[in-house]
C-alpha cells in the first residue's frame, strides 16, 4: 500500500522532532550518533516518498515542484553529513575538545536544525517560514559557540547579533506583505498563505510590495550571506564544528535563498511592482567580486571556504536575478551542485584539520603525500568548486555566463572577472595545501570517506550527464521562478 502524501510530509517533520527528544535523553555518544544517522536516513526516505505522492496544500504546509527538490537535497546532505559527523566527533571527544554532555546537546540540536529547515522549506505560511528560519538561526548560534573558545564565542555572538537583526528586518517585510494582501484578501490566515498570495498578487498595492521586498532582501539576504551583510558567515563557519560548517554552507544558505525566491515569485506576479532582478543582480555581483578578492588573504582553511560560499551564493543570486528560463535553470543547478560540493569539501577539511591539528593554511602542506585519499579528495573538491570541467559546477557556471552574454553582455564582464579571480585564489591555495613535502604532525585519520566521495561522484555525474527527468524538472521550476 502506498502511504499518503500527508503522512509522508508529517514524517519529514515528526522524525527529527522525535529524534531530538530521544537524543536529548540518551547520554551515550555512540548511541547518539547512530540515532542521528538513522533519523536522518529515515527523514531522507520520507522526503523521497514526497516525490511520488504529493499532499494537497494546506494553509500551513505545501509541497510543490520547487520545494520538493530542495527538501530531498536537504535531507540527503543532512544524512551524509550525519555519517561524516559520526566519524568526526569521535575524534573531537578523544582530543577533549568536546565533552560527552556537549555532544548530547550537539546531536539534539542537529535534529532541531533539520526540523527547522524542513519546516522552512515546506511552509506555505510566510509567518511559519519566518519562525522556522528563526529557529534555525537560534540552533546554529548555539552550535557555533559549542567549543566555548574565545574565538567561538565571538563568532557566535556576531552571528547572533547580525542574524537577529536580519530576521527582525525579515519580519518587518513579512508584516508589510500581509498589509499589502489584506485589502484584497481580507483578514486572517489566508492572507499569509503563499499559494493564495501568489494567485492574488496582481491586485496588491505595488508600493507596499516593493518596500516589503527591500526588507525581505536585506533580512533573508543576511542569512544567505550576501555582501555587505555577510560578516557573520566566515566566523561562524571557521569556529563551529565542521559538520555544522557543512550544513551551514550546503543547506542553511540554500534555505534562506529559497525563502527569498518565494518572495521574488510573489513580486514577479505583480506587474506594477519593481522588478526584483536588478537588486538581486547587484547584490550577487558585489558578493561575488568581494568574496573572490577576499579569498586571497585568508589564513584559515575553513574561513577560506566560507568566503567561497559567499562567492557562490553571489553567483546563484545573480543567476536568479537575471531570471528567464535559462538563467534560473542554471541557478537551480548551481544551487544543487554547490550544496553537494561545498559540503564534500568541508568533510575533507574537517578530517584535514584533525589530522594536522590546525586550521592554518600555512601549516598544512603536502596532503597528497601524507594522506593520499584525503588529499586527493580535497583536490577534487577544490577543482569542482573552482568550476573546472568535468564537474557539475562547470556546467552551471557555463550556462550562467552564456545566458548573461546573450542578454546583458556588459554584466558578463564583472561576472567572468569575479569567477576568474576566485579560481586563481583557490588554485593557488590548493597547491600549497596538497602538494610538496608533507608538514608535521601527521596523525592518521580514521575517517569515513564514503560521504566525501559520494558527493563528488554525484557532482561528477551531473557534470557529465544530467538525466532527462532532472532536466525537465529543473525546467519546470525555472519557469515557475521566472
Amino acid at each position: 500500500m502506498m502511504p499518503s502524501g500527508e503522512s509522508a510530509m508529517a514524517a519529514v517533520l515528526i522524525i527529527p522532532a522525535v529524534a531530538t527528544l530521544l537524543l536529548a535523553v540518551i547520554s551515550s555518544y555512540q548511541a547518539g550518533s547512530t540515532i542521528n544517522v538513522v533519523a536522518t536516513a529515515l527523514t531522507l526516505c520520507a522526503s523521497s516518498l514526497l516525490v511520488v505522492v504529493r499532499p494537497a496544500p494546506s494553509l500551513y504546509l505545501h509541497v510543490d515542484d520547487f520545494n520538493i527538490f530542495l527538501v530531498v537535497l536537504n535531507t540527503f546532505v543532512a544524512f551524509t553529513t550525519s555519517v561524516f559527523s559520526a566519524s568526526y566527533i569521535a575524534h573531537e571527544l578523544s582530543s577533549r575538545r568536546l565533552t560527552p554532555g556537549y555532544l548530547r546537546f550537539y546531536h539534539a540540536m542537529y535534529q532541531v536544525l533539520m526540523l527547522a529547515m524542513n519546516v522552512a522549506l515546506l511552509a506555505n505560511n510566510i509567518g511559519l517560514m519566518w519562525v522556522a528560519i528563526e529557529l534555525a538561526t537560534l540552533t546554529t548560534v548555539l552550535m557555533v559557540g559549542i567549543y566555548r573558545t574565545p574565538a567561538a564565542l565571538e563568532a557566535a555572538w556576531k552571528y547572533f547579533i547580525l542574524g537577529s537583526v536580519g530576521i527582525a528586518l525579515a519580519l518587518f517585510g513579512t508584516i508589510l506583505i500581509y498589509l499589502a494582501a489584506r485589502p484584497t484578501m481580507g483578514q486572517g490566515m489566508e492572507s499569509m498563505a503563499w499559494t493564495l498570495l501568489v494567485s492574488h498578487a496582481a491586485a496588491f498595492d505595488p508600493a507596499l510590495l516593493n518596500l516589503a521586498f527591500v526588507f525581505l532582501l536585506l533580512g533573508y539576504g543576511t542569512k544567505v550571506g550576501l555582501a555587505p551583510l555577510h560578516a557573520w558567515l566566515p566566523d561562524a563557519h571557521a569556529e563551529g564544528p565542521t559538520p555544522i560548517s557543512a550544513v551551514l554552507s550546503g543547506l542553511l544558505l540554500n534555505v534562506a535563498l529559497y525563502v527569498l525566491l518565494r518572495f521574488k515569485i510573489l513580486l514577479t506576479a505583480n506587474a506594477a511592482a519593481l522588478a526584483p532582478g536588478a537588486l538581486m543582480i547587484g547584490m550577487g555581483l558585489v558578493s561575488l567580486i568581494f568574496a573572490a578578492l577576499m579569498l586571497y588573504r585568508r589564513r584559515d582553511i575553513k574561513r577560506m571556504f566560507a568566503y567561497s560560499s559567499i562567492e557562490h551564493m553571489g553567483i546563484i543570486t545573480f543567476a536568479f536575478g537575471m531570471g528567464g528560463p535559462l538563467a534560473s535553470f542554471a541557478g537551480l543547478f548551481h544551487m544543487t551542485m554547490h550544496s553537494l560540493t561545498k559540503s564534500a569539501i568541508f568533510f575533507a577539511v574537517g578530517h584535514v584539520s584533525q589530522a594536522k591539528g590546525t586550521q592554518k593554511i600555512a601549516e598544512i602542506r603536502g596532503l597528497t603525500e601524507s594522506h593520499p585519499v584525503l588529499g586527493w579528495g580535497l583536490v577534487l573538491g577544490v577543482i569542482a568548486i573552482a568550476g573546472m570541467p568535468p564537474f557539475g559546477i562547470f556546467m552551471s557556471e557555463f550556462l550562467i555566463i552564456s545566458s548573461t552574454f546573450a542578454r546583458e553582455p556588459l554584466l558578463a564582464i564583472p561576472l567572468v572577472l569575479g569567477l576568474l579571480i576566485g579560481i586563481g585564489a583557490l588554485v593557488l591555495r590548493m597547491q600549497g595545501l596538497a602538494f610538496g613535502p608533507a608538514s608535521q604532525p601527521n596523525t592518521p585519520v580514521e575517517a569515513s570517506y564514503v560521504p566525501l566521495f559520494a558527493h563528488l561522484a554525484l557532482v561528477f555525474a551531473a557534470g557529465v550527464f544530467l538525466p532527462d527527468a532532472l532536466v525537465s524538472w529543473f525546467r519546470t521550476v525555472a519557469t515557475m521562478i521566472g
Binding site: R148, E154, A168, M192, R303
Partner: protein, 220 residues
C-alpha cells in the same frame, strides 16, 4: 469615539518612539535598563489598546507577555547580572551622544517619509502605527551599532523587537502575532541571558564586546 481611539493609539506609539530616543542617550546601565522597562510597559499599553479597538482578544496575550516578560523579568534579571558582574559604571558609546541623537532624529524623519506615502491606501491608524514602528526598529538598530557593551546591545535588540511587535499588532487581523512574540521571547531568554552573558563572563571577566574583537581568528 473613533477620534479618541485613534488619538490614544497615536499617543502610545508616539511615546514608544520618544522612549527609544531616550534610550539612545542613557550612559549608565542601570538607567538604560529602567528606561527599557518603560519602553516595554508602553508597548504593552499600545498593544492592549490595539486589542481593544480591533476587538482582537489574542493581542491581550501579546500585551501581557510584553508587560510581564520584557517589562519586569528581563530588566530585573539584567539588573542583577549587571550588579553581579560589577559593570554598573559608565558605558562607552562608539559615537558621541550629540551626533547619535541627531542621527536618530534623522532616522525617525526617514521612516515617516518612507512609510506614509507607501501606506496611503491603508487606514490612518495602520499608517501612523507602521511609521512609528519603523522608527522604533531603526532606532534599535542605531543603538546596537553605537554601543559596545553586550548588555546595551541586547537592550537595543529588545527595543528593536518591540518595534516589530508594535507593527504586527497594528496590522489589523494579522495571524500568528502571539506566536511570533513568544518566539522572540524564547530567543531572548534562551540565548542571551541563559548562555551568552554567563559564558562571556566566564571567559573574559567582561561583557565589553570590544574586548572580544581581539580574539579574531584572522590575526597572524
Amino acid at each position: 469615539m473613533h477620534g479618541l481611539a485613534f488619538d490614544v493609539a497615536h499617543l502610545l506609539s508616539g511615546s514608544l518612539v520618544l522612549i527609544s530616543l531616550m534610550l539612545l542617550y542613557q550612559d549608565r546601565l542601570y538607567s538604560l535598563l529602567n528606561i527599557f522597562a518603560f519602553h516595554a510597559v508602553f508597548l504593552a499599553f499600545a498593544v492592549a489598546w490595539q486589542a481593544f479597538i480591533q476587538r482582537a482578544p489574542h493581542l491581550y496575550v501579546t500585551a501581557a507577555i510584553a508587560l510581564a516578560f520584557k517589562g519586569i523579568v528581563i530588566p530585573v534579571a539584567l539588573h542583577r547580572m549587571v550588579q553581579r558582574l560589577g559593570i554598573h559604571r559608565q558605558i562607552e558609546t562608539v559615537v558621541g551622544i550629540g551626533p547619535t541623537m541627531l542621527f536618530g532624529i534623522g532616522l525617525v524623519a526617514l521612516s515617516i517619509m518612507v512609510m506614509l506615502p507607501v501606506t496611503e491606501q491603508a487606514d490612518a491608524l495602520t499608517q501612523e502605527d507602521l511609521a512609528f514602528a519603523l522608527s522604533v526598529v531603526l532606532l534599535g538598530l542605531l543603538m546596537m551599532v553605537t554601543r559596545r557593551n553586550a548588555v546595551s546591545q541586547i537592550v537595543g535588540f529588545m527595543s528593536l523587537e518591540n518595534g516589530l511587535i508594535l507593527a504586527a499588532a497594528g496590522a489589523k487581523g494579522m495571524p500568528l502575532v502571539v506566536e511570533i512574540s513568544i518566539a522572540f521571547s524564547v530567543l531572548i531568554a534562551l540565548i542571551v541571558i541563559g548562555i551568552f552573558l554567563f559564558r562571556i563572563r566566564e571567559r573574559f571577566d567582561t561583557v565589553d564586546v570590544h574586548v572580544l574583537d581581539r580574539f579574531r581568528g584572522e590575526q597572524p
